[in-house]
C-alpha cells in the first residue's frame, strides 16, 4: 500500500482545483465563495486533526477509546441532522437516537457476521460512513416532512376532522419522507459500479488492494448503508411526526394556521 503517497507539494498543487471552482463561482456570481473557503479550511483542519487522532486510536487500540470516537461521530452527525430539522421540537434527541441505533445495529450485525473486526482501524471508518449516510438521509427526511406538513396542511386537517389518529393523518407524509431520505442511498446502490466507483472501493484499489477484494468490501458497504439509512430514516420520521401536533391532536401553529 506504500505506492499511495500524496506529498504536501502535490496537495498544494491540488489547491489549483479549488481556485478553479472559486473562479467559476465568482464569474457566475453564485455567491458561494465564502462557504467554499470556509469548507476548504474546515476540511483541511478537521481531516488533519482526525488523521492524528485516528493514528493514536489505532496505535493504542483501546475499546473505550474506539467507543468514544464512535460516540463523537454519532453526536456530530446528530448535531448536523438537527440543523436540517428547521424547528422540529426535540430534533437533536430524535436524530441522536436514530443515528445511534442505525449505527450500532449495523455495526453489531457486521461484527457478529465476522465481516469486520472490532478494531479501531475498521470500526471508526465504518461508523463514520454509516453515521454520515444516516445523517444525510435523516436531514432529507426532515426537510420532506417540513415541506409536506406545510404544503399539505389542509389535507392533514381534513384527515384529523374525519377522526384519524395522528399516525393515520400523517402516514402519507411519513412514507414520503422515508422515501426521500433513502432515495440517494437506493439510487447509489442501483448505479454503483456503472456510474460511480464509490469512495471506499476506489480508495482500496487506489491503495493497491486487489479490486475483487475491494469490490467485496464495497458490496458489504452498500448493504450496510441501505440498512443504516432505512433504520435511521424510519426511527427519525416516526419519532418526529407527532411533534407537528399538539396534545389535543391538532396541527401545531409552527407551520402557520389561521382562523376566522
Amino acid at each position: 500500500m506504500n505506492n499511495l503517497i500524496v506529498s504536501p507539494t502535490a496537495l498544494a498543487f491540488a489547491v489549483i482545483l479549488v481556485v478553479i471552482a472559486l473562479a467559476i463561482n465568482l464569474k457566475e456570481k453564485i455567491g458561494l465563495e465564502r462557504d467554499m473557503i470556509i469548507g476548504v479550511i474546515r476540511a483541511v483542519i478537521q481531516l488533519t486533526v482526525v488523521g492524528y487522532v485516528l493514528t493514536y486510536i489505532i496505535r493504542v487500540n483501546r475499546v473505550w477509546l474506539t467507543g468514544l470516537m464512535v460516540a463523537i461521530i454519532i453526536f456530530n452527525a446528530a448535531l448536523n441532522a438537527n440543523k436540517r430539522a428547521n424547528g422540529i421540537p426535540h430534533a437533536f434527541v430524535i436524530s441522536l437516537l436514530a443515528i445511534a441505533t442505525a449505527t450500532l445495529i449495523t455495526i453489531l450485525l457486521l461484527v457478529v457476521a465476522g465481516a469486520v473486526r472490532f478494531t479501531p482501524s475498521q470500526i471508526v471508518p465504518i461508523s463514520g460512513m454509516i453515521a454520515s449516510n444516516a445523517m444525510v438521509a435523516i436531514g432529507l427526511a426532515y426537510r420532506s416532512m417540513n415541506t409536506s406538513f406545510h404544503d399539505q396542511r389542509q389535507g392533514v386537517l381534513e384527515r384529523l376532522a374525519l377522526g384519524a389518529n395522528l399516525k393515520q393523518a400523517s402516514k402519507h407524509i411519513v412514507q414520503m419522507a422515508i422515501r426521500t431520505g433513502m432515495a440517494p442511498t437506493i439510487d447509489s446502490a442501483k448505479t454503483v459500479g456503472i456510474v460511480s466507483l464509490p469512495g471506499m472501493m476506489s480508495g482500496l484499489i487506489f491503495a493497491g488492494v486487489d479490486p475483487t477484494k475491494a469490490i467485496m468490501y464495497q458490496i458489504m458497504v452498500t448493504f450496510m448503508l441501505l440498512a443504516a439509512t432505512s433504520i435511521g430514516s424510519v426511527i427519525a420520521c416516526y419519532l418526529a411526526y407527532p411533534r407537528y401536533y399538539n396534545s389535543d391532536m391538532q396541527l401545531s401553529d409552527r407551520n402557520g394556521s389561521k382562523q376566522q
Partner: protein, 218 residues
C-alpha cells in the same frame, strides 16, 4: 327536557392577542338544525372548529352529550362530530382513495357497495369511484368530500359554508342529502352567508365580533 347534545358555557377563543370568540353560551338540542350566520370574520367558522375539537377553547367549557369535550378520545369524538370544510381537499389519486379512508381509520375493510351508494346519494355515477381527483369539478369535489364525511353516520354534522360557490343544481343535491340525515336524527349545524338559507333556518344563531348577537330561538 332532554339533555342538549352541546352545552356551551362562556366559550372564548383567543389566537395570540386576537380575541375571536367571547362569552358564547348556548345549548343545542339533539336533532337540531341550527344555522349560524354573521359577517365575515365574526368567528362563525372558529366556533364550528371549536365544536369539532380542531381548535381548543381558551376559556369556558363545551360539553358533548353531557360530558366535557376534553374527556373524549379525539378520533372517537371527531368520528361522531363530523366537520365539513368550505373548500375541501381530496387526497390520494382517485375518488376511491378518499372513500377508503373512513374505513381505514376504523380498521374496517372497504365496502365498495356502501361507497357506491354514497356516491349515488349525491348523484355521482359509480364510474366516478376510480376517477382521478384532478378531473373533478369543484361541485363534484364537494360532493365526494361530503360522502367521505357521511359514509359512517355521525351524531352531529358541522357544515362550514359547504354550499358556497356551488351551482343551484349541486346545492339542491347537497341540501337534499343533508335533509335526509336530519330526518334520521343527525344534528346539523351549518355556517352560511346565503340569505335564502338564513331565511329558511329552523333555528338561527347570529355571531358578531365573536359574540352571540341573537340567541337561538327554541
Amino acid at each position: 327536557m332532554t339533555e342538549p347534545i352541546f352545552d356551551v358555557q362562556r366559550l372564548g377563543y383567543k389566537n395570540g392577542s386576537n380575541q375571536i370568540l367571547q362569552g358564547i353560551t348556548v345549548q343545542i338540542e339533539k336533532g337540531a338544525n341550527l344555522t349560524i350566520a354573521g359577517p365575515s370574520g365574526s368567528g362563525k367558522s372558529t366556533f364550528l372548529r371549536v365544536l369539532a375539537t380542531l381548535l381548543t377553547p381558551t376559556e369556558g367549557v363545551v360539553k358533548f352529550a353531557g360530558k366535557k369535550q376534553s374527556t373524549y378520545p379525539k378520533p372517537v369524538y371527531r368520528q361522531q362530530v363530523s366537520y365539513c370544510f368550505q373548500q375541501p381537499t381530496l387526497f390520494g389519486e382517485t375518488v376511491r382513495d378518499n372513500l377508503q379512508f373512513p374505513f381505514e381509520i376504523r380498521n374496517q375493510k372497504f365496502d365498495q357497495n356502501k361507497a357506491l351508494a354514497g356516491l349515488d346519494s349525491v348523484e355521482l355515477k359509480a364510474e366516478m369511484l376510480d376517477q382521478p381527483i384532478i378531473e373533478l369539478s369543484g361541485g363534484e369535489k364537494q360532493r365526494v368530500a361530503l360522502v367521505r364525511n357521511l359514509l359512517f353516520k355521525p351524531q352531529v354534522l358541522l357544515l362550514d359554508e359547504i354550499s358556497a360557490g356551488l351551482d343551484v343544481d349541486t346545492k339542491g343535491v347537497v341540501h337534499r342529502l343533508i335533509q335526509s340525515y336530519r330526518e334520521s336524527g343527525v344534528t346539523v349545524l351549518s355556517v352560511t352567508h346565503d340569505e335564502s338559507e338564513i331565511a329558511a333556518a329552523d333555528d338561527l344563531l347570529r355571531i358578531r365580533d365573536g359574540k352571540i348577537e341573537v340567541p337561538a330561538h327554541e
